[in-house]
């Protein structure tokens, strides 16, 4: 039986315990000791899921105000982003704009301003939506996630984090503390593209591309896609196929291979067929843009 009478979008239709720890350690202790506790940061996905009764946590541990999770810093050759940094803070971050332009471009296309002011990067990752727009750029950059529990910190490549729609390897007693993103490699071009039903909507398809050009040949291409597989995916076979090709060749070859890297489905937002076709188009567009930008190394996004 459908739970039509259990849904309520005006007021969350059930009660739960709410914890507002002052330190990360305190948060981890609560997660360890309170059965059924769940981490909440911005809540833009979780609150909706609770109103629809998709999840019914017994307790929430609010980490959104923890200073330990709220920073963006440049550390040697990577940028470390606290998980409770909001999407809008990322858009406004000079470090992100200059050092992680591919991530910046993706975040700048995400959600409404009002939601960007609440939603966090950690939440976007931990919600593990196949359409999470931060994921393709982070996959392309080879970001690492710091998952912290009372047992310590484990560092996991973002490629290993997602295991299915809304499923990841994070344990209930863990908090995603920070994301370590290698700084944008010098001379690489980049492009993030997506199509959605309306502006700032969830992607039907998203593509992130990072590449270098050497003597008119594409080198070290890194391609990741969103909303076209059970998780955000790296397009490894496409990357291998276009390595060392000219742009014209890559535009020809890339789309043929990308089909094998994705497994789109029909849903309320689009069809599998459309996603497959347009993934190829966005790949071409992104390759072209990234190629051009790599030839123009001084180019940055306007703040």
């Amino acid at each position: 039986m459908l739970s039509v009478n259990r849904i309520n979008t005006y007021r969350i239709p059930f009660t739960f315990e709410y914890y507002r720890p002052r330190t990360l350690r305190e948060a981890l202790e609560i997660l360890r000791s309170v059965e059924g506790a769940k981490v909440v940061a911005g809540g833009t996905d979780l609150v909706v899921d609770m109103k629809f009764r998709r999840v019914e946590p017994k307790a929430l541990v609010d980490v959104s105000k923890l200073e330990e999770l709220r920073y963006v810093r440049l550390v040697e050759d990577y940028v470390e982003i606290g998980s409770a940094v909001t999407l809008q803070e990322l858009v406004e971050s000079e470090v992100v704009r200059a050092r992680l332009p591919l991530l910046w471009e993706a975040v700048n296309s995400m959600a409404s301003w009002q939601v960007r002011n609440i939603a966090t990067i950690g939440g976007n990752i931990c919600n593990a939506s196949p359409a999470a727009d931060t994921a393709p750029p982070l996959l392309a950059y080879g970001a690492k996630l710091l998952l912290t529990s009372l047992d310590g910190v484990r560092e996991v490549g973002i490629g290993e984090f997602f295991v299915g729609p809304k499923r990841s390897i994070i344990r209930p007693d863990e908090v995603l503390q920070a994301i370590r993103v290698p700084v944008h490699p010098a001379g690489y071009g980049w492009s993030f593209r997506k199509v959605s039903r309306t502006s700032f909507d969830i992607a039907k398809i998203s593509v992130a591309v990072l590449l270098k050009v050497d003597g008119g040949r594409i080198r070290d291409p890194r391609i990741a896609l969103g909303a076209v597989a059970p998780t955000p995916v790296r397009a490894r076979s496409t990357e291998r196929a276009i390595e060392s090709l000219s742009l014209e060749e890559a535009l020809e070859v890339g789309p043929r291979f990308v089909e094998g890297d994705i497994a789109p489905i029909d849903d309320v937002r689009s069809t599998a067929w459309y996603r497959r076709e347009v993934a190829k188009v966005l790949l071409r567009d992104s390759l072209r843009t990234a190629y051009e930008r790599s030839l123009n190394p001084g180019w940055v996004h306007e703040g």
Binding site: N5, R197, T198
Partner: protein
């Protein structure tokens, strides 16, 4: 020429709305109030065995079941005369026929408790049937009847093959005309169900009064019909039901009928004896309350080589869902739109409304006109192309214009067209958009292709006519002059936001020559107003405005009569009235003796001091016509042939609304009408899974409407008004709200054709469909 009409004045309720201080239904709080929640059927077609209310009641909730409300069939819409009203609704039911149909309701002292009580209800189902979701399957032999018997007027009628209503019509000799035709085109069109997305979720507050009457505040386009329906369903005398007018957060047809939420709130209030507030959540409003009709249309039409349209055949199947709102009248109106668009020499029509186990459908802006206009304008475009005639020329030759009989609102409301701005709008609009240079789709290449399309349509101004007909259509107005010369305007007519009541205030001001700021629009109720049928059918300015004008004219006569006494004129005919800018008042003077003058304020004061009595008038007005407001849209789009995404580039929106009373608000109707039409053309759709669950099941997250970034910018949107004057309208005015959106789908679809050479016969024209069509063509 006019002192106030056609000039910009800030709307009277603007500040209150912008600051959020205006109270919508949801904002109304009454001490000691209970909060309601509805138990919605989790199945699309089922039978309830029993409802166990004990746990919910033990939580302190009042519970309403089908046993606690009168077992009386009704139709929530009272706009048609009773003989044409098909009744198949109950307030609560043991036989839910759509997913979400109300079975029971609870009310409790807090919203959280109400939710808990709702979840504590135990509803046991005796049988769950396989839902019938497709109208063609519903009509097939052997299909389970969704309703066996319903009431038409006051008579029980059998329902056969799940056909809720049908209408056949013919005129002229179709076969003969077809033989004469040089081109014949037949096409099938499909329009899905769409949700209104009015921003305010529907709700109601009902309060018991110490004298045993009830007061109701609710989301409605008609307070009087709401009063009548409550009275009929609950058997309460109308004098004991007072429905208050509250602002409505968008109508678009979603509250022409009285929403179930209103009747359920009344039931909870009567049972508990306490005030009750019942407001739908967005997902309830969108998924379980109602949407708009689904159309399956077949059109066959012909024309001769010289560019004359010959015949039109129209088959129209409406998927109405599980209950009737306008199932029958819409069959007539759809025919009316069809017939009145062009001068068909012969017409044949067969319309059927079919029950399915889906949420009931009701009108959405245009009441079938946007859908029928799209279909007809597509066929007309195709015929023009086949004949090698410019589509604009072809339209000008064949459309129904001045002097011709017109019956947009169906066969029972016919009148003669007296004003027509189509030639002007086509001439000016085509120039502005660059029609001549739009090019042939076959010559267009490249990834991004632009195209220009035209759509011409109209809407009626109300549903009046010289004969009474099958539709109730009249308005009322009370105008009274206060003792200081300010004016109270009291009307039941609802303003959905288009500025209708501001137009009325200007009409009254113009008639009396006092500034609109002196005319107060009183928030009224059914007890203190005379009947107004409903704000729908673009009738607010044309019918309601004329009622206001007539009341003001009567007041003016009395003012002149009193002024004649004061000025010692032989009679009122010796007097003239003018607006005096300095005094900011009407000045009445004797013609030829301008020093013999008195202001309206003085007249009001003197009439009071000398015991002459109040200066007031109450008018009930029925229009003898429902003149068409013509609209002509030119739209330029850009199609990305690799993603299928269609983007609006430029819009020229031309409207013949007669005299324009509120220029910036009238332009706003065209902006908003385009936005809604664009949304229908490229995006809006409610689809269903096999269980009868809407695919957009949850919320507006899965039902996206355009944002500011998805629509034309101010510099890309031109509004044109034709310089027409409608002799039957107040100061020459006609309606606009629906004409503003009616030809939009047609114009967009024709523009897409002009860009890529592909016609679409199914909306929405999504990127998925565009890309598929482009790939199929190769």
């Amino acid at each position: 020429m006019y002192d106030f009409i056609g000039k910009t004045f800030p709307r009277h309720d603007g500040v209150a709305k912008a600051t959020g201080l205006v109270e919508f239904t949801f904002d109304i709080e009454i001490p000691d109030m209970l909060y309601g929640r509805i138990f919605k059927s989790p199945y699309a077609f089922a039978k309830v065995r029993r409802i166990d209310t004990s746990l919910a009641e033990s939580l302190g909730a009042v519970v309403l079941t089908p046993d606690s409300v009168p077992d009386r069939l009704f139709n929530p819409r009272l706009v048609s005369i009773e003989e044409d009203t098909f009744k198949d609704w109950r307030v609560l039911t043991y036989t839910p026929r759509y997913l979400g149909e109300p079975i029971a309701a609870v009310a409790a002292p807090s919203e959280d408790l109400a939710q808990r009580a709702l979840e504590a209800l135990k509803v046991e189902f005796e049988e769950v049937y396989e839902p019938i979701l497709d109208p063609f399957k519903a009509m097939a032999p052997g299909a389970r009847p969704i309703h066996e018997r319903i009431v038409r007027g006051r008579t029980w009628v059998e329902v056969r093959n799940n056909v809720a209503a049908e209408l056949r019509y013919s005129e002229g000799d179709v076969e003969l005309e077809e033989r004469r035709s040089d081109v014949v085109i037949e096409r099938r069109f499909h329009v899905p169900r769409r949700y209104h997305v009015q921003l305010e979720p529907k709700g109601a507050v009902c309060k018991p009064e110490p004298d045993g009457s009830i007061t109701v505040w609710t989301t409605t386009q008609t307070i009087h019909n709401t009063k009548i329906l409550i009275s009929q369903v609950y058997g309460i005398p109308m004098s004991r039901v007072n429905v208050k007018k509250v602002p409505i957060g968008g109508g678009f047809g979603s509250s022409i009928h009285t929403n179930l939420v209103t009747l359920i709130a009344v039931g909870l209030c009567l049972k508990s004896g306490r005030p009750v507030k019942l407001v739908l959540t967005r997902e309830e409003d969108m998924v379980h309350d109602h949407v708009s009709f689904e159309f399956y249309m077949r059109i066959r039409a012909g024309a001769t080589k010289d560019g004359t349209i010959t015949f039109g055949e129209f088959e129209n199947i409406l998927d109405i869902g599980a209950h009737q709102v306008q199932a029958y009248p819409l069959l007539g109106t759809a025919l009316g739109w069809f017939v009145s668009l062009y001068r068909w020499r012969a017409v044949r029509y067969y319309g059927r409304s079919v029950y399915t186990n889906k949420v009931p459908s009701c009108a959405i802006r245009g009441y079938g006109a946007p859908e029928v206009t799209w279909a007809v304008e597509t066929v007309v475009d195709e015929m023009a192309e086949e004949l090698g005639i410019d589509p604009l020329e072809f339209r000008l030759r064949n459309y129904r214009g001045r002097g011709e009989i017109f019956w947009g609102q169906g066969p029972t409301v016919k009148s003669v067209i007296r004003s027509d701005g189509v030639p002007e709008l086509i001439a000016r609009g085509s120039e502005l958009i660059g029609w001549r240079n739009r090019g042939d789709p076959r010559s267009k290449t490249g990834r991004y292709r632009r195209g220009i399309g035209v759509g011409r349509g109209f809407h009626t101004s109300g549903a009046g006519g010289p004969l009474s007909g099958a539709i109730i259509d009249y308005s009322g107005a009370i105008v009274k002059v206060n003792e200081d010369g300010t004016v109270d305007y009291i009307t039941a007519l609802q303003d959905h936001g288009g500025g209708t009541l501001d137009a009325h205030a200007k009409i009254i001001a113009e008639e009396l020559k006092i500034p609109p700021s002196k005319v107060r629009i009183v928030w009224s109720d059914t007890a203190t107003t005379v009947y107004d049928v409903c704000t729908h059918a673009s009738r607010g300015v044309y019918v309601g405005g004329e009622a206001a004008r007539r009341a003001a004219a009567e007041v003016r006569r009395k003012v002149l009569e009193y002024a004649a006494r004061i000025l010692d004129a032989v009679n009122p005919e010796a007097l003239r009235v003018e607006y005096d800018r300095e005094l900011d008042d009407a000045v009445i003077y004797v013609e030829g003796a301008p020093d013999r003058r008195v202001t309206l304020s003085e007249v009001a004061r003197i009439a009071w001091q000398r015991n002459w009595g109040s200066i007031s008038a109450s008018v009930s007005y029925r229009a003898t016509a429902a003149p068409p407001s013509f609209t002509v849209y030119f739209v330029e789009v850009e199609v990305d042939t690799e993603t299928g995404i269609v983007r609006p580039v430029r819009v020229v929106a031309g409207a013949d609304a007669g005299t324009v009373i509120n220029p910036e608000l009238a332009a706003g109707q065209l902006h908003g009408g385009f936005a809604m039409g664009w949304s229908w053309a490229v995006g809006d759709e409610v689809s269903y899974t096999e269980d009868g669950v809407p695919a957009h099941r949850l919320s507006v997250a899965d039902y996206k409407i355009p944002t500011a970034l998805d629509l034309p910018k101010p510099e890309e949107f031109v509004v044109l008004f034709a310089s027409t004057y409608e002799p039957t309208g107040p100061f020459g005015a006609k309606g606009l709200g629906e004409a503003a959106s009616n030809p939009v789908i047609a114009a967009v679809a024709n523009a897409i054709y002009n860009a890529i050479g592909i016609r679409f016969y199914e909306i929405p024209i999504t990127p998925e469909r565009v890309l598929e069509a482009l790939r199929e063509r190769g």
